[in-house]
């Protein structure tokens, strides 16, 4: 996803001199060409995320469209008040870009697990929150956010995620993408979980004759209420799947829509409990510990359906 991001950003920066990339001493083998081609549109702020975010807001207030870039929690949680007061309160044209969403840096330990970022960013006034499901969505999201200006948060995986969309997609912030059709239930997911969710859906279709709709909810804020409510009435059950805490993220956002609309349907959030892992490992290993692999998703979805039919 980061390759799709930097490719799109480089493309926009060539024709829009306002586009500026500010990195927190990160981006080795990603940002070099951008830095070389657009020296007036690039700065390395050093390992100093609070200053990075404050100065990004300052540059935005001076007319730039700024993208800050770092790993997981560093440009979000580390400098949360700069994000809130300097970026959001001023409505500054800053898009915060992170690599390493969820357990992408699994073996690196809890400091590098970005597992509460969506919830926290989502509460900030004026903030748009986008977590693309694959490299294709990541490219589209970058163009869309460069156009919109910010405040925004773009949560990426790292490099080499599988492409899920094999054809062209209609990407619009605030509009979910229907990746698979179906009427037995709906799986709503965000970010890099899309691949596992589509695989689990296809497994359910062949082994259990369950036709699940799959929505890639790349925009968590604003969220696509219409798609959620249509899924509720047309498919009768919803499961949210996210590589993030079950508190306040995608599952939280979807349940808010459902609860306030008054539809009572079988509903389940699959995600990470509010606890730190005491052991670590690869991304798939940690996903597996929390039921976020195909092997974990299939029985969980099946269980919800069985419960609903009873």
């Amino acid at each position: 996803m980061r390759t799709a991001f930097i490719k799109a950003l480089t493309h926009v920066a060539a024709s829009d001199p306002r586009i500026t990339l500010v990195v927190g001493d990160l981006g080795y083998s990603v940002i070099e060409e951008f830095a070389r081609r657009f020296p007036r549109q690039f700065v390395n702020a050093g390992v100093a995320e609070q200053n990075m975010t404050g100065l990004a807001a300052g540059m935005a207030l001076a007319g730039r469209r700024v993208f800050t870039y770092s790993i997981g929690n560093f440009p979000t949680l580390r400098c949360l008040e700069q994000v809130r007061n300097d970026v959001c309160y001023h409505g500054a044209a800053v898009t915060i870009v992170t690599v390493g969403g969820g357990f992408a840096y699994g073996a690196l330990g809890a400091s590098h697990h970005a597992t509460e970022d969506i919830a926290i960013m989502r509460t900030l006034p004026r903030m748009t929150v986008v977590a693309p499901g694959d490299p294709v969505e990541a490219g589209h999201a970058t163009y869309a956010l460069a156009e919109a200006g910010g405040p925004a948060y773009l949560r990426l995986g790292k490099a080499g995620e599988p492409v899920v969309h094999d054809g062209p997609i209609a990407f619009e912030i605030g509009r979910a993408i229907t990746v698979r059709g179906g009427s037995d239930l709906t799986l709503i997911t965000t970010g890099g979980m899309l691949h596992n969710v589509v695989r689990a859906r296809d497994a359910l279709a062949t082994t259990h004759r369950v036709q699940a709709r799959v929505l890639s909810m790349h925009s968590i804020k604003p969220i696509d209420r219409e798609a959620i409510l249509a899924a509720a009435s047309e498919t009768g059950a919803i499961v949210t799947v996210e590589e993030h805490s079950v508190i306040g993220g995608l599952g939280g956002a979807v349940s808010e829509v459902l609860a306030e609309s008054g539809v009572g349907i079988p509903f389940r959030r699959i995600g990470i409990p509010s606890a730190f892992d005491t052991v670590v490992g690869s991304q798939e290993y940690l996903r597996g510990r929390h039921g976020l692999t195909v092997e974990g998703l299939v029985p969980a979805i099946e269980g919800l359906l069985l419960g609903a039919r009873r």
């Binding site: 001493d25 330990g109 290993y285």
Partner: protein
């Protein structure tokens, strides 16, 4: 127990060898910064720190805080060589289900704090030093920082705090290897005059060669360098030190040693 300079050199060599094997089998980053601090770790754990592997939670122990948590391979190696954790566990580094996470984590005996986000170590160390001093504990707190994390405001907020509160039992050691994540410190965010900054914040400062075992031991054994001041030891080091083809290169902040590089590196270490 007296440990000679030669013993400490031997310990440093074993720490380097373990670190190379660990990052090789894990295919993990950060070998450069693990090697640059190996002599400091060997001197600390071989001689300076009052710690006891048999009683890792002994209340009067000195505390060691690794703030540059990404370079933890050589700390885990040190803890294995000094009896805190079994040597065999080193091979679990980065593997599924391990407690030896890629940034230093308290799951391993002897690790006082988990870090990984830069700029957290010195504030934690200040808090420990303040509480221990107020409780009239003989324990001292040693924090090992990277030069890169001296970009962080939190590091300087703690520096102000340590000076203001005259934390005589606090020793910050900076692994000044002159390279951070995207280039040389001098190009990314210059720190010089570095020692003068710490002095201005109220610290007693020593600048030493961070690979000269005698100089490290001599300095750390005479702390506090001044009464009523915390100590800052700026250790001039070389990123990748000990493996000639890794020395001074940004590449080895990221690149794990290949099979061939591991063999050559181990040969070089034995030959010394």
């Amino acid at each position: 127990m007296t440990t000679t300079t030669e013993d400490i050199r031997g310990l440093a060599r074993r720490i380097r060898a373990h670190s190379l094997r660990m990052t090789h089998s894990a295919r993990s980053s950060h070998i450069g910064g693990a090697l640059s601090m190996a002599d400091l770790l060997a001197a600390l754990y071989g001689r300076v720190l009052r710690v006891d592997a048999g009683r890792p939670n002994w209340p009067e122990r000195d505390r060691f805080v690794l703030s540059k948590g990404h370079a933890c391979a050589s700390l885990y190696a040190t803890l294995a060589e000094t009896g805190f954790i079994p040597v065999e566990t080193l091979s679990t580094f980065y593997t599924d289900g391990t407690t030896l996470a890629g940034h230093v984590t308290t799951g391993a005996a002897g690790v006082e704090v988990s870090t990984g986000s830069l700029g957290h170590g010195l504030p934690l160390a200040c808090g420990m030093a303040l509480a221990l001093a107020r409780d009239e504990s003989p324990s001292r707190v040693f924090a090992l920082l990277s030069d890169g994390e001296c970009d962080e405001g939190s590091t300087w907020e703690a520096a102000l705090f340590g000076g203001h509160h005259q934390l005589t039992n606090l020793i910050a050691i900076i692994d000044y290897n002159k390279i951070q994540s995207l280039g040389h410190v001098a190009d990314v965010m210059a720190l010089e005059p570095f020692g003068a900054k710490w002095s201005a914040f109220g610290w007693a400062v020593a600048e030493i060669d961070g690979h000269d075992i005698d100089a490290i031991v001599r300095t750390l054994e005479t702390v506090p360098l001044e009464q009523h001041k915390p100590t800052c030891v700026i250790a001039h080091t070389v990123k990748g030190r000990g493996v000639s083809f890794m020395e001074g290169l940004l590449t080895y902040h990221y690149k794990p040693p290949s099979d061939d590089e591991l063999a050559r590196a181990l040969d070089e270490l034995e030959g010394r």
